[in-house]
């Protein structure tokens, strides 16, 4: 099976869909000729032509608005926001328009579109190239929010997202583009080439949106994570020496509550991890759901480890990033009771 980085896997997903379905178009800032600042669309314009893969002016709400016009017409746009930090001008179009089309027109107009964006920190990008805005999308009914953590999942989920009849926010943990990241800034960098999840089948396959993946089975505690934090959780589990179950959510909305519930009922303990700022982050939603679903099984409070409630600070990035040490501490503390 071919070995791919996450960038290659995403590109392959778009390539497959561009080849499969003439309704698919790909566009965004620097996405066409150049192939994207992270190279996710490199070669696609040369292969599929300028009418299928093209550049746009620097206006994120225009990108979203054009995509909505095309999607309601019947096409399947898959657009890129250069960084998740730049999606905010498009927030109105995405949440008040794309998300609402089907409902407000009683099904006359629907909006099958994907909005890809690199998310998360750890690349010394400062406050405007590091943010994780998933929670402002998970709050919005009508949107699905997806975030892969492996090349295999990235391709399968992106194909599923493009084929989905509804708008999908597709977050790409940029720290995982080239390899897994275990949260140690100074640590050795490993590429996807030497990781089993870097094996990516050719052609069309998809991973259903809404199914979590149990990345590690364990009996003592359940860790809920997604994106980069899945690896940080793995590192923390090693560090703390606790037999934790790690669930990679993959899809935040819809959420695979069944998998979560089964695990927490079993372990009785739960730690939630994300990189976004803590207050009103998606971790809050997870805790709310878990405590409601599993209250009588809980042996200790559900803990969350998250980005501090501050802008991503350029120089203090590694004090900000919720690394394995902080997660390990939370694990140990959760085991105290």
């Amino acid at each position: 099976m071919p070995q791919m980085t996450m960038i290659e896997a995403l590109r392959d997903a778009m390539d497959v869909k561009l080849s499969d379905d003439p309704a698919v178009v790909v566009f965004g800032e620097d996405v066409g000729y150049f192939g994207g600042v992270f190279r996710c669309t490199a070669g696609l314009q040369a292969k599929h032509g300028e009418t299928r893969v093209f550049d746009t002016p620097i206006n994120e709400s225009a990108i979203a608005g054009m995509a909505i016009g095309m999607a309601t017409h019947g096409m399947r746009p898959c657009v890129e926001m250069q960084f998740a930090d730049y999606v905010f001008p498009a927030y109105d179009q995405l949440t008040q328009e794309a998300a609402r089309m089907r409902f407000r027109s009683n099904g006359q107009f629907t909006c099958p579109m994907v909005v890809r964006m690199p998310t998360g920190g750890g690349i010394f990008g400062g406050q405007t190239h590091s943010q994780s805005p998933e929670a402002i999308f998970t709050h919005v009914s009508g949107l699905k929010t997806v975030i892969p953590s492996t090349p295999f999942d990235a391709k399968g989920l992106l194909i599923a997202a493009i084929e989905d009849p509804d708008p999908v926010i597709f977050l790409e943990p940029k720290r995982l583009y080239n390899g897994p990241f275990y949260g140690e800034h100074g640590g050795e960098s490993v590429g996807w080439a030497s990781h089993s999840a870097g094996e990516v089948p050719e052609g069309n396959y998809s991973i259903p949106i809404g199914k979590a993946d149990v990345r590690r089975e364990g009996r003592d505690l359940t860790i809920l994570a997604y994106g980069t934090m899945v690896y940080v959780a793995e590192a923390a589990v090693k560090e703390a020496g606790i037999d934790a179950e790690i669930i990679d959510l993959r899809s935040l909305v819809p959420l695979d509550l069944e998998t979560i519930r089964a695990s927490v009922e079993n372990t009785g303990r739960c730690v939630v991890v994300h990189e976004a700022t803590r207050t009103s982050g998606f971790g809050a939603e997870l805790i709310a759901e878990v405590q409601e679903a599993c209250f009588w099984h809980l042996k200790s409070p559900i803990a969350r480890v998250a980005g501090w409630d501050a802008p991503y600070p350029h120089a203090a990035e590694w004090d900000y990033f919720p690394g394995p040490k902080r997660v390990a501490q939370a694990l140990s503390k959760a085991m105290e009771n």
Binding site: M66, G69, R104, N106
Partner: protein, 411 residues
């Protein structure tokens, strides 16, 4: 010449206790402006963007080259136009009344602006798509949208094609080329551009028409629409309905120091025209030209329809708080119904008697439909909308969490 920097705050020509004053409005002369070639460039469109295209003179006689462009329109087509406008007016009258009686939560008239949507729509083909605001119900009327559907939505009852999910007046009918109206101003404008791009990419032969109010030209989506239309050159007609007011705010707040909205569009490299929106013939002629231009691959075009919002902003609004009561009557370009009527009479194809008779007939038709639709329920006498519909159509397939919530609701 030196002075201290001071801010300006654009003001309307008159406030409530003042005398309406449109002396600054230069209405030009009917027939004075020519018909440009279909492949008109922005740089050559200055006279069209800064002038005002008019066809009928005060006696109802069509004059000039734009009149010639639609000389083939026979009287029956124009009588249809008159009937469309009268129907709209009858609906506005009846439904405002219904709102006053508490039968619906909200209503919104388009009085004075009827010619624009009515004449424009009759130039479109099946498959073309309008991206309207809440004030373009005329597009539906002239697309022969069933009265039951329109009124049904206003009453949110069993006749409502949207099943009560959306506000009254925010209609949607894909079949009638009427995109689902948003409550958020401006958003549809860039969507129209995206749709037109899909027209070009799929080669389906259709075009898109964006609609926006003068006030909403201030929105970001106005900018992004003009920008992307200029860049990609899709087949889109970008309509700006300048009715002088945005709720209580005078149009000068959105136009600032620009001469016209058309000239603002021209700055984006899009050819633009400015047209008397109360002149049915001018609207018909320019619409025909613009739609043909877009369809035949000459790219986007912008049209400023110059008109006046004669009624209140909506049933929630009382304009006596911010403008003279009689300002509408002072509008120098008259009333679209009166003017088309005058034209048809001038042409020997209409009379005061037929007009009155037609008004009565149409009002009867609307009233009858209204009674029928009201029987299915109104706000004071609600029909039975199913609460479970809340969870339908949020997604194509209902996800688990919505299923749980529906169960929690107990249905």
């Amino acid at each position: 010449m030196t002075k201290k920097p001071k801010l300006t705050f654009p003001r309307p020509p008159a406030r409530p206790d003042e005398i309406p004053d449109f002396s600054d409005v230069d209405v030009g002369q009917p027939g004075a402006i020519g018909v440009p070639p279909l492949d008109l460039l922005a740089k050559d469109s200055r006279p069209y963007a800064n002038g005002l295209i008019r066809v009928m003179n005060s006696g109802g006689k069509p004059v000039g080259p734009w009149a010639d462009l639609i000389a083939d329109q026979d009287a029956s087509a124009l009588r249809q136009g008159l009937r469309d406008m009268l129907k709209m007016r009858a609906i506005d009258k009846r439904m405002l009344n219904a709102q006053r009686q508490g039968k619906t939560s909200f209503y919104l008239q388009c009085t004075g602006e009827e010619a624009i949507g009515c004449a424009f729509q009759r130039t479109l083909q099946k498959g073309d798509m309008n991206f309207p605001t809440y004030r373009q119900q005329t597009l539906l009327i002239a697309a022969d949208y069933p009265l039951e559907a329109m009124l049904g939505q206003l009453y949110s009852n069993a006749y409502d094609p949207l099943k009560g999910k959306q506000l009254p007046t925010l209609h949607s009918s894909r079949k009638h080329g009427f995109f689902t109206v948003s409550g958020n101003l401006g958003t549809q404008y860039i969507q129209a551009v995206g749709w037109a791009m899909a027209n070009a990419l799929t080669g389906d032969g259709g075009i898109a028409a964006g609609w926006i109010g003068d006030g909403a030209t201030a929105s970001n989506d106005f900018h992004s629409a003009l920008l992307c239309a200029s860049t990609y050159q899709p087949p889109v007609v970008l309509n700006i309905v300048n009715n002088q007011w945005a709720i209580s705010t005078y149009t000068g707040m959105a136009s600032g120091n620009s001469r016209t909205y058309a000239s603002r569009a021209r700055g984006y490299g899009i050819p633009a025209l400015r047209v008397d929106g109360n002149d049915y013939l001018a609207v018909a002629a320019v619409s025909k030209w613009a739609v043909q231009r877009a369809r035949s691959g000459h790219g986007p075009v912008a049209i400023e329809w110059f008109t006046y919002r004669a009624a209140a902003h909506s049933s929630s609004d009382d304009p006596s708080g911010y403008r003279p009561k009689d300002e509408a009557a002072a509008w120098p370009l008259g009333d679209p119904v009166d003017r088309l009527k005058t034209h048809l009479i001038y042409r020997g194809e209409w009379s005061e008697e037929r007009h009155i008779q037609t008004e009565v007939e149409i009002l009867a038709e609307v009233t009858e439909a209204q009674k029928k639709v009201e029987a299915a329920g109104t706000l004071v006498n609600p029909g039975s909308m199913s609460a479970s519909l809340i969870f339908d159509g949020v997604y194509a397939e209902m996800p688990e969490h919505l299923r749980r919530q529906r169960q929690e609701m107990g249905i």
